[in-house]
């Protein structure tokens, strides 16, 4: 039904409530429909983000994708609220209009009726009637009536004129309550309008939050690619389905030679489920990476240990069940020799694996142990930490020398235990000692130890390991020391000389030389280089050349070592002997050690309650030895 358009009789220039409630309702419904669509999108997005295909998408791009998607649920939820808020506002306003408009119209209709009566009873024109109706007092009405009837010809007599004035005056009084009602209605209308505007503003604020949550300010705030890239995602990966991306995980592993700092960053960038998955499926790779935290590395290597023990045990059982025949064969018997060699090698490794397992699992009366590396390549390698180096105040790495290998690691682990015991512990004061059998050490002091390649081959491995310790340590930097024994000191010295190790202190015990003439050449303050040399340790007191040249030449000939002494100088085989004052390091107190059997003193630096062990404890805790 058409609404009235002429509102002048009520003193209004135009329709005070022109909105079409039907249109408002359509707007409201549109926004509600938008909100419903967003709600469905939200539900779908949540479903997508929790879909195994996406949660299983590993790697940097997978994580970046998830990170880039992360704002979506919140954004959609906010958008739904905003759309629904707008719809609600229009709907509410529509209802208000639908209620108020008839009341306005009713007032206007009543006023129009009065106006028509004034026109008829007063015999006035439309213009005069409207002027009479909207005047503030009766003066206007009298003037118009007088002009119409008294100044011109009129059928009204004086009495009729007065009666008409009275009637019109009564009609005019009828406008007042209508006008007051219109004023009241306008108040209600303004209130509804303000309420609607506030609701729209609130919705606009929500929309602003969506923009902010997208991390941008412009119209491109929803640009997914930008956010994906900013989080480290590779846009090329977006062309792959998450299922396809699952195949990327193998190539995610850092390549050989990757710096431990990059490995540490890479590991940190992974989510915990990703780390757990890699540990589960690639324990051998994870366990060998320097730069991965101790606890994760230990978890991986324990799995490697279990698997390795099983395979070694199974192989030994197989060999014992398949002994090559020897009867009736001529010697040598290469088949039997090969079988026997493999069996000996496996039994040695089996012993080492069992001792590692025992230390990790069966000693609740000792500090906890962590497995930081394990493999059975060559003679086998293992890295075992007593206490967690990532959280310890002091960290010492022990590098054993000639004879060290997986099969012989039990004695080396016990030396780490001895050093932790010597360092002591207290509230907030923990020392971690790491047995590092991470290189191929010489096995025979006469045949192997003279050669330097065991040391040079170990340099990068040792550097990476020490760098990894620095990367994964939590809290204030720990005091990191490294102790090399026998050929292990040579290994440490070569690495320090050639690469510089990120350590604060270095200890050489029973050292035949560390590859330099002076402590100052080790890329560390010589004040932090400490030497332990037992008087009766033959390795730490290698004879000078002038003494050697006095050996009977026939004895040298008998050993096959009779030539080439002419250019020998006064130094040891690997540079200046560290205990010599010219080397420029601190020499700490060590008992002379046993004289017999020969070489006994070489292995006595960790004897319980000895001066040597006490001094090692002092050094690795930042104190001065005696």
């Amino acid at each position: 039904m058409a609404r009235p358009t002429d509102w002048r009789v009520l003193g209004l220039d135009s329709d005070p409530i022109p909105q079409d409630p039907d249109n408002l309702y359509i707007w409201a419904k549109s926004y509600h429909d938008y909100a419903d669509q967003v709600a469905r999108a939200l539900s779908g997005t949540n479903g997508l983000l929790n879909d195994p295909a996406l949660t299983g998408w590993l790697g940097a791009s997978g994580q970046a994708f998830k990170d880039a998607c992360l704002p979506f649920p919140g954004m959609l939820n906010t958008a739904e609220d905003a759309y629904r808020g707008v719809g609600d506002a229009w709907d509410d306003f529509s209802k208000q209009i639908r209620t108020l408009q008839p009341q306005f119209d009713s007032c206007l209709n009543q006023a129009t009726t009065l106006l028509q009566k004034m026109k008829a009873d007063g015999g006035l024109s439309d213009e005069d009637a409207l002027a009479c109706a909207t005047s503030d007092n009766d003066a206007v009405m009298y003037d118009r009536m007088h002009a119409k009837h008294m100044e011109n010809s009129s059928t009204l007599g004086p009495a009729g004129f007065e009666n008409a004035l009275d009637a019109l005056s009564a009609y005019r009084a009828g406008f007042d309550p209508l006008r007051r009602q219109v004023v009241d209605l306008c108040g209600q209308y303004t209130g509804a309008k303000v309420k609607c505007e506030n609701a729209l503003n609130d919705a606009a604020d929500l929309a602003s939050k969506i923009v902010k949550s997208a991390g941008a300010t412009g119209t491109n705030s929803m640009n997914f690619d930008d956010r994906f890239s900013s989080r480290g995602g590779n846009l090329a990966d977006l062309v792959l389905s998450p299922d396809a991306a699952l195949g990327l995980e193998d190539s995610m592993f850092p390549t050989q030679g990757t710096d431990p700092s990059e490995i540490s960053w890479w590991w940190t960038s992974l989510s915990q489920p990703e780390r757990d998955k890699l540990i589960l499926e690639h324990a051998d790779l994870v366990g060998a990476l320097d730069g991965i935290p101790c606890l994760d590395r230990d978890k991986a290597n324990r799995a490697v240990l279990d698997a390795t023990r099983s395979s070694v045990n199974a192989r030994i059982a197989y060999l014992l069940a398949h002994i090559p025949p020897t009867d009736g064969r001529d010697y040598p018997n290469p088949e039997f020799d090969s079988w026997n060699k493999e069996l000996d090698d496996l039994r040695a490794k089996q012993a080492g694996l069992n001792s590692v397992y025992d230390r990790l699992n069966n000693h609740p009366d000792q500090p906890p142990a962590f497995l930081l590396g394990l493999d059975t390549a060559a003679l086998g390698h293992a890295i075992v930490a007593i206490n967690n180096p990532d959280t310890a105040n002091n960290v010492v790495t022990y590098v054993p020398g000639t004879g060290s290998k997986l099969g012989n690691i039990a004695g080396d682990i016990s030396r780490s235990d001895a050093m932790v015991g010597a360092a002591g512990s207290g509230p907030g004061f923990v020392t971690s000692s790491i047995t590092w059998v991470g290189y191929d050490a010489p096995q025979n002091i006469a045949k192997d130890s003279p050669f330097i390649h065991y040391a040079t081959d170990a340099e990068l491995k040792l550097y990476d390991f020490e760098t990894g310790l620095r990367m994964t340590h939590q809290g204030p930097a720990s005091l990191n020391s490294i102790i090399g024994h026998s050929y292990g000191s040579t290994t440490v010295g070569f690495a320090m000389r050639d690469m510089g190790l990120p350590v604060d202190r270095v200890i050489f015990v029973g050292s035949p030389g560390v590859g330099v003439e002076h402590a100052a050449d080790l890329h560390i303050d010589p004040a932090h280089v400490y030497i332990g040399a037992a008087d009766n340790d033959p390795v730490a007191n290698l004879p000078l050349a002038e003494n050697l040249t006095q050996l009977p030449s026939n004895a040298l000939n008998a050993l096959g070592w009779a030539t080439g002494l002419s250019d020998y100088n006064v130094h040891g085989p690997f540079g200046q002997l560290p205990y010599n004052p010219e080397f420029g390091a601190h020499t700490f107190k060590v008992a002379p050690g046993a004289l017999w059997p020969p070489g006994a003193a070489h292995s006595q630096y960790w004897v319980p309650r000895s001066d040597s062990l006490r001094n090692i404890g002092a050094i690795i805790t930042g104190n001065q030895p005696s």
């Binding site: 001792s355 009366d365 000639t402 004879g403 060290s404 039990a410 004695g411 080396d412 682990i413 016990s414 030396r415 235990d417 001895a418 015991g421 360092a423 002591g424 512990s425 207290g426 509230p427 004061f429 025979n444 002091i445 006469a446 003279p450 050669f451 330097i452 026998s486 033959p538 007191n541 004879p543 050697l548 050996l551 040298l556 050993l559 096959g560 070592w561 080439g564 002494l565 250019d567 020998y568 100088n569 130094h571 085989p573 008992a591 050690g593 046993a594 059997p597 020969p598 070489g599 006994a600 070489h602 292995s603 319980p608 309650r609 001066d611 006490r614 805790t621 930042g622 104190n623 030895p625």
Partner: protein, 172 residues
């Protein structure tokens, strides 16, 4: 010095200082081994170390709390010789932090341990500032030392010699 010379030199060094016999036979250090190692199990040796610690504590001028009560063991597999081969023997090395000893009584504790050592056949084995240790004829050692952590609490030590776990050397 060329590489060939180095090789020759080391061979000479080994021959001169170690002796061919020692290298070939693998005879090693016995200084930390129990003289009657064939008869004492590791558990029995450990029990004796505990008893030594308890006996010392009983003589101290102040009654400390032992932390932990059973000690922390830093012992393990023993090795010997120039090539550090594990022998199959083990030792136990117990450490007890002495709680409740006032710092001004530390010297009294040192004196008490010293007296105990003298009375029970332990001879001086090691000493430095804040550290004294003693060893008996069977290879058991005892010590008292000031810890390196900021608290400088005293620690009592009691260790066994290297013994066969079951008292005798396994055959084969």
């Amino acid at each position: 010095m060329n590489g060939r010379t180095k090789v020759i030199l080391i061979g000479v060094v080994v021959a001169a200082m170690v002796g061919i016999a020692a290298v070939l036979t693998g005879i090693g250090d016995t200084s930390n081994a129990h003289p009657s190692a064939h008869s004492m199990t590791l558990e029995a040796a450990k029990q004796e170390a505990r008893q030594n610690a308890a006996a010392i504590v009983a003589t101290l001028p102040v009654a400390p709390q032992l932390d932990p009560p059973d000690g922390t063991d830093s012992g393990g597999a023993c090795s010997q010789g120039l090539q550090d081969q594990v022998t199959g023997q083990y030792d136990s090395s117990l450490n007890f932090r002495l709680r409740g000893v006032p710092a001004d009584r530390n010297q009294d504790v040192f004196a008490a341990v010293r007296a105990f050592a003298g009375q029970h056949g332990f001879k001086p084995f090691g000493s430095s500032s804040g550290f004294e240790s003693f060893k008996d004829n069977n290879g058991f050692t005892i010590s008292v030392e000031t810890s390196f952590d900021p608290s400088h609490t005293l620690t009592l030590g009691s260790s066994t010699p290297c013994v066969w776990p079951n008292g005798t050397q396994p055959r084969g």
